[in-house]
Amino acid sequence: MTIYTAMPLELVLDGMGNEPGPFVETTVKGMTMQLVPVAPGVGRIVRLLSAPLDCYLKTEYAPGQLIGYMPQDEPIPPASSLYDVPRFGM
């Protein structure tokens, strides 16, 4: 890989050894994307991994945009289950 830039390379590559991320892969509205979480349920788009072609033309799905998503490791239980309290013979 060759970088051809007018900027000093030491500025461009400064911090190259640092691990990028952490990233989250999630599917929002049918698009699989890589995000950097910035707040619970909100992520900054890093790249679209798999999306319909027309989604690439929409600025709201461009890298760097914020998007709401539901972290997959913390699924919200359905509301009905909140009321399914076991009855202990009372």
């Binding site: 890989m1 060759t2 970088i3 051809y4 830039t5 007018a6 900027m7 000093p8 390379l9 500025l11 461009v12 590559l13 400064d14 911090g15 190259m16 640092n18 990028p20 509205k29 049918g30 698009m31 349920g41 909100v42 790249r47 679209l48 319909p52 072609l53 027309d54 989604c55 690439y56 033309l57 929409k58 600025t59 709201e60 461009a62 890298p63 914020l66 998007i67 709401g68 539901m70 919200i76 359905p78 509301a79 009905s80 909140l82 009321y83």
Partner: protein, 254 residues
Amino acid sequence: MSDKEKPDQTSEQPGPPGPPSEEARKPSATEAVVQLGQTTVPSAESNVFCLTIIGQIEGHLILPPQNKTTKYEHVIPQLIAAEQNSKIEGLLIVLNTVGGDVEAGLAIAEMISSLTKPSVALVLGGGHSIGVPIAVSADASYIAETATMTIHPIRMNGLVIGVPQTFDYLEKMQERVTRFVIGHSKVSEQTFKELMFKTGELTRDIGTTVIGQDAVKHGLIDAVGGVGDALRELNRRINERKVKAGAKEGAIVQ
């Protein structure tokens, strides 16, 4: 108890996963405001797709976060989408880039040059290094009066195993860029190489910075102009293409 408090009310919960419909993908401005505190200006349907190439062109390597980057894995599908979308009739490419990955930059330039739809490039601020082949790849190119383009040799970054081999490799890389630029602009090979290897102008490197009118004078860019000129030229080319397509259809009917 109000309706909202009914225990069996599940309307606020996500439904069962199914194939996403086009409706579901439509972004809701209010949803974006509520969830993220941001919104995008509702845009009117335009027949022109504006592609902005800013900062570093990021290719095979993720650049550190202090760099503003244009990611080629996003730009390439964008160009394909613009080419196949029937509502888009032309592309305006706005450049303010300091360069970046050679392969990614050349890939974007090759894709722009092979589009069947009219394209016009506009250099604002700067179109340096690998931004030069991208700027010349469109059907027509404009440069703002104050915009600059830096043309300089490719520098080595990485391990040097053998000096002659490294020199040979860098020369081949430079040749790729040079060949593309001279093939897609009016600049001659001699002039471009003279600009590239000129000494005494850049403080950190050999090369040349060409500003607005100079880029036109050397034949790199077609004209000095701004957004208005670029859009006017693009619309002219779109209309020309429509007329040609109409004439072809007429000939087929006859």
